[in-house]
């Protein structure tokens, strides 16, 4: 199965993402590889400090924006919620959302990584 088909099964709106790039499928694939790099570089971990999470907001905000533009829907929606919850000082609820999304996030990233290395 191709990367894009696998990603569709993992809830990524591949068609919407490609449409945003004027139908350029190969550009979309390249962007997904860059997205993988970005996710690796700015890991948002659930063990963040409950009193000091400004950097977590910034990282989550950036990931949300990129995920949204590539229509990586599960990650976009989860990080959107995380940003909102942290901005309204609800770190425990934000942590719960993050913990919930991590398994699917891992699958999406593994899928991209597999094809990036292929």
């Amino acid at each position: 199965m191709s990367m894009l088909e696998e990603l569709k099964e993992l809830g990524v709106d591949v068609d919407g993402g490609i449409k945003r790039l004027s139908g350029k499928e190969s550009l979309y694939e390249r962007m997904m590889f860059k997205f993988l790099d970005m996710m690796k570089k700015s890991v948002v971990s659930p063990d963040f400090d409950n009193d000091n999470y400004m950097e977590v907001i910034e990282a989550a905000h950036a990931l949300k924006g990129a995920a949204g533009n590539l229509s990586v829907t599960p990650i976009y929606e989860a990080y959107g919620k995380i940003v909102d919850l942290l901005r309204t000082q609800k770190p425990d609820e934000a942590r719960a959302v993050l913990t919930d999304v991590l398994p699917i996030q891992e699958k999406i990233l593994d899928c991209i990584a597999k094809h990036a290395n292929a």
Partner: protein, 341 residues
């Protein structure tokens, strides 16, 4: 659509920059900045930038910081800025609008609308900037025409006065030097350069009223009788009457300076001048400056009724009060000003 226009994309996330670049690169040149400080450098160094797509939340200088810099440099007036936002607070977006941003681009990007919105605004700004250029050129032309009309008028009067026209030029030059000196030396007399420029233009009209003085008095080789002198003194008031009849040939500022200078360039610090017998700082500083310049130039020039005095003799006469009393602060800068003549 031409590709001479450039869009600057500012976002610290490369994916967002690439997606935006992909949307616009068919019709525009694209430059990218990954930080606020890089964006500021590009905006200030690239005259072809027609629009800025600006992320708000970036490490270091934020999008708002870039907007503030564009306000400081005035670039915000000619370059439309679109804020890229995922979900910044309303307060941040409002601040962006207050700093001159024209619109907000929300992530995820809506490609087809983005192209239309941004292209429309770029065209609108290009049209507005072109109109502003035309207006600025026309204003400059009008100013030149005004200036040359004023100079022509002043020169005509000089010729009538058997002068070469050089007198008014010297008065203008000396007025600029003296006004600049006195403005720099005394805060109470401070005036911005723009105002000094107007005063210089106005100074050359100081004797416009002489056009109404009969030749027999104006060009009399000998000393004037008391009665003739009374008529001669009328050139100050007559000058104002002439100006009142031609207010439209000059802008309001120049008209008001010219009027004041015409009327009061023969007033003296001790109140013994004419026509109103004003004293001290009841006489405007520009009328005082033109008075000194006029006296100095008259002393050092040959006239039908006298030979030219040397520079040293003229200075001595002015300091001795032989030509009336002048503001001591003005006399303090007078010598320094002379050296620049």
């Amino acid at each position: 659509m031409d590709k001479e226009k450039t869009i600057l994309i500012v976002d610290d996330v490369e994916i967002n920059r690439i997606i935006l670049a992909d949307i616009f690169e068919e019709n525009y040149n694209i430059v990218e900045a990954s930080s606020g400080s890089e964006a500021i450098q590009l905006i200030n160094g690239n005259p072809d930038i027609a629009a800025v797509l600006l992320d708000l939340l970036m490490p270091g200088v934020s999008g708002l910081g870039v907007l503030e810099d564009m306000n400081n440099t005035g670039k915000i007036k000619s370059i439309p800025v679109f804020l890229i936002t995922a979900a910044e607070s309303d307060a941040v977006l409002m601040e962006g609008y207050h700093l001159g941003a024209v619109d907000v681009i929300r992530k995820p990007f809506m490609t087809q609308f983005l192209q239309c919105r941004i292209s429309n605004v770029i065209e609108l700004y290009a049209h507005r900037n072109a109109l502003e250029d035309i207006v600025a050129r026309q204003v400059a032309q009008l100013k030149e025409i005004n200036q040359s009309m004023v100079e022509t008028l002043a020169t005509i009067i000089e010729f009538r006065d058997c002068e070469s026209g050089e007198h008014v030029k010297r008065i203008g030059k000396f007025t600029r030097i003296m006004m600049t000196e006195v403005s720099n030396a005394y805060p109470e007399y401070y005036l911005p350069k723009k105002e000094i420029d107007k005063i210089v233009t106005s100074s050359i009209l100081h004797d416009i009223g002489k056009i109404s003085i009969p030749d027999s008095i104006l060009n009399k080789p000998g000393r004037l009788t008391a009665e003739e002198f009374d008529i001669m003194k009328q050139h100050t008031v007559k000058g104002c009457e002439i100006l009142q009849n031609i207010p439209d040939i000059m802008d309001k500022g120049i008209y008001s300076y010219s009027y004041d200078i015409c009327r009061h360039h023969h007033e003296r610090w001790d109140g013994r001048g004419y026509p109103d017998g004003l004293s001290g700082d009841d006489i405007s500083i520009w009328a005082q400056v033109v008075a000194v310049a006029d006296v100095y130039d008259a002393l050092t020039s040959e006239r039908v009724y006298k030979a030219a005095y040397s520079r040293e003799k003229a200075v001595e006469m002015i300091y001795n009060g032989e030509c009336g009393t002048f503001n001591p602060k003005l006399l303090k800068v007078f010598r320094g000003a002379l050296e620049q003549l």
